[in-house]
């Protein structure tokens, strides 16, 4: 299956933190003929071992998370609206006025927004907190709404994968479905060395899955595949962009939760140059990912993050360049071809 076809499928699956099952099932389906061994741990993490042509002295794991940001129904009110809490960090401004889809039922709900004509002067331009927003599911009272949505049900932004612009894609959940897609490709290929692959749960609410997996594997080296915020939008000075779309795979030396392994960062940048893989160093200390868990759990691993520069992550419409995703895949392959 072509990489971007697979990515489209993955991005279109509804799987917020704690609800990764449909994503896990699909991945298992996609790797079942690869010859890899796999197991699902008690909290739903999917751990894969793929034998290479040779053993590696060090234990290396490549990790990506299956979950995405989303919402959970917290209350059904008398007028039939669903009240929500966010699952993972979401800016209230990207929620206001969006459509969301409920997991399992695929019901669509609209985040209500009072018409501009009936807003008070104070309300104009301002978004209420997510937990004060109302989701309209087309019901008129609590009784009928409760037949469609229950407290605890989860939702995500609506599937909307599409190619656009100059070799870009836009979709919900590029974070981190592209990481999953890259790993699935690698698992289905012949590898030089034995490698573990971890499809983690619950990254968006605090890297819970990664903590569990790290304890189980106790790896020496962890390579994290992620989406990272590209701030290269209209009006941002270059030094504050963090990274740029079309700029290649992003190698972080430091973010809000991790200082990365210096040698691995150096190695990645050198390999990029040597093999002609476009890559860039993240120029701002911002964001964070599962590296923090792999660095701190069990005996602690040396960590490297290879990220896709992505605009508007954690929104209904994140944007990434196909060539950057290809660069991340190439860089990952190059790294795991080393013996260490």
């Amino acid at each position: 299956m072509e990489f971007f076809e697979r990515l489209k499928d993955y991005c279109s699956i509804l799987a917020p933190s704690g609800m990764e099952k449909p994503m896990r099932k699909r991945i298992i389906e996609d790797i079942k003929d690869s010859g890899a061994e796999w197991r699902v741990d008690p909290n739903g993490n999917l751990i894969v071992f793929k034998k290479g042509r040779a053993r590696r002295d060090k234990k290396l794991v490549v990790a990506a998370h299956m979950d995405e940001v989303g919402f959970m129904a917290s209350y059904i009110d008398e007028e039939g609206y669903v009240r929500i809490e966010n699952v993972g960090g979401i800016d209230r401004r990207v929620v206001s006025g969006r459509r969301i889809m409920f997991c399992g039922s695929n019901l669509v709900g609209v985040v209500a927004s009072k018409a501009i004509h009936i807003q008070t002067k104070e309300e104009i331009g301002k978004c209420e907190p997510i937990n004060e927003m109302r989701v309209d599911i087309g019901c008129y009272d609590r009784e009928s709404a409760e037949k469609r949505v229950r407290i605890g049900d989860c939702a995500t932004f609506c599937p909307n994968y599409e190619e656009f612009g100059n070799g870009l894609i836009k979709s919900k959940a590029i974070d981190d479905r592209f990481g999953c897609a890259v790993m699935v490709e690698l698992i289905n290929s012949d590898l030089e060395y034995d490698t573990y692959f971890a499809f983690d749960t619950c990254e968006e609410i605090g890297c819970d899955g990664a903590k569990e997996v790290c304890y189980q594997l106790n790896p020496d080296i962890a390579v994290i595949l992620e989406s990272t915020t590209a701030g290269d939008i209209c009006g941002t000075p270059a030094e504050k962009a963090a990274c740029t779309v079309h700029g290649g795979a992003v190698i972080s030396h430091m973010d809000n939760s991790t200082v990365y392994d210096k040698e691995l960062v150096k190695l990645a940048m050198e390999l990029g140059k040597e093999k002609g893989i476009p890559c860039q160093l993240k120029n701002t200390v911002a964001g964070g990912n599962e590296a923090r868990a792999y660095q701190r759990e069990a005996c602690g691993a040396r960590v490297l993050a290879i990220s896709a520069p992505t605009r508007y992550i954690h929104s209904a419409c994140s944007v990434a360049a196909k060539e950057d995703l290809t660069a991340v895949a190439a860089m990952t392959k190059t790294i795991i071809e080393r013996k260490f």
Partner: protein, 349 residues
């Protein structure tokens, strides 16, 4: 109701930001051909049709809905392939971050309103007011590529489908006022082939959101004896003033009382609905109604005009929500109006 939904889906799929209404002409030409004696577009971009009665000196009834929608217009093409825009009509700017749009340039391309990443925001910034000037549209193209497709003045509209939220409740970015156009087309289907004794005319007016130009000029051409303007109105939503509970979605179409509509014809319409068991709600709008009724009522020496509105939630956003049952009832009422207007007595002396 399936039929109205079908028409609404087709009509809302066609863009038409105020000033760019002609995009629906080919659809209208195709669907209406053979069903009207006189039809076509006008110099300002409205579309109209008249079905003539065989009766001599038959009166003419005009149904009006506006063809234009709100949207945006490009004001600047920026480095990195971003566009700055202004609003055409007014939307709630707070909803725009990371929302999707169509850009109607030389070819139609998709775009995304940029949203500022967390690391570039000041603490508490997301709680502050957001205005269109803070935003830009990401096209994913370079400035040079973009300049080949888009220029200052290119229209931009919401990119979102018309779909169902539940059996009866539907959502689309352009129900204002395409849902009313759908009601009118449905009503005219309901009386097709019937000898109703009046000329039945409709106009889909250009430029309502930007000053009623299409309604004035097209009604002048049609010269109706009576008119019903169909627009949308803000339905009650939680958090709105108590008095707004007067009009809610799912409880029928709304009939306006206003000094800018004709009281006698309004009462006639109300009685007609009651007689036929058609659900109605009532809206008090003493002065200007903010619809085409203003200009149609006073045009051509004065045309008795009624204002009916489909209740809508989230008006002027990408998610305008309406109830199909209200639309169905409205179409029925319009059809009854055509059948019964012959008995209208007019204003008492």
């Amino acid at each position: 109701m399936d039929r109205i939904y079908e028409i609404a889906k087709e009509l809302t799929a066609i863009p038409g930001v105020s000033g760019d209404e002609s995009r629906s002409f080919p659809y209208l030409e195709k669907t209406l051909a053979g069903k009207f004696d006189d039809f076509g577009f006008t110099p300002v971009g409205s579309y109209f049709g008249i079905r003539k009665s065989k009766k001599k000196n038959a009166k003419t009834v005009l149904f009006d809905a506006h063809l234009d929608t709100i949207g945006f217009i490009v004001t600047k093409i920026c480095d990195g392939g971003f566009l700055k825009v202004m609003m055409v009509g007014r939307t709630a700017e707070k909803n725009l971050s990371a929302s999707e749009v169509w850009i109607y340039g030389k070819r139609t391309i998709p775009g995304v309103f940029a949203s500022k990443p967390p690391h570039l925001q000041e603490p508490g910034e997301s709680e502050k007011k957001l205005s269109i000037d803070d935003l830009s549209i990401d096209t994913g193209l370079s400035k040079e590529e973009l300049e080949e497709i888009v220029r200052v003045g290119t229209f931009v509209g919401f990119k979102a489908d018309c779909e169902k939220l539940s059996d009866n409740v539907i959502v689309s970015p352009s129900f204002d006022d395409r849902i009313c156009a759908a009601c009118i087309l449905r009503a005219l289907e309901l009386v097709e082939g019937e000898d109703i004794g009046v000329n039945a005319a409709f106009q889909f007016s250009a430029g309502e959101e930007t000053g009623y130009k299409g309604a004035m000029t097209t009604a002048y051409r049609i010269a109706p004896d009576y008119a019903i303007v169909l627009d949308v109105c803000n339905a009650y939503v939680p958090g709105a003033r108590e008095a707004r509970k007067a009009v809610q979605i799912g409880k029928g179409c709304s009939l306006s009382y206003s000094a800018q509509t004709n009281r006698e014809l309004t009462e006639f319409t109300r009685t007609l609905a009651e007689k036929n068991g058609i659900a109605l709600q009532f809206l008090a709008e003493p002065g200007a109604t903010g619809t085409n009724s203003n200009v149609i009522q006073t045009g051509h020496g004065g045309v008795p005009t009624v204002l009916l509105s489909i209740p809508l939630k989230n008006m002027h956003t990408a998610n305008e929500v309406a109830d199909l049952r209200d639309c169905e009832e409205t179409a029925k009422l319009l059809a009854e109006f055509l059948r019964s207007i012959g008995s209208y007595q007019g204003v008492e002396e």
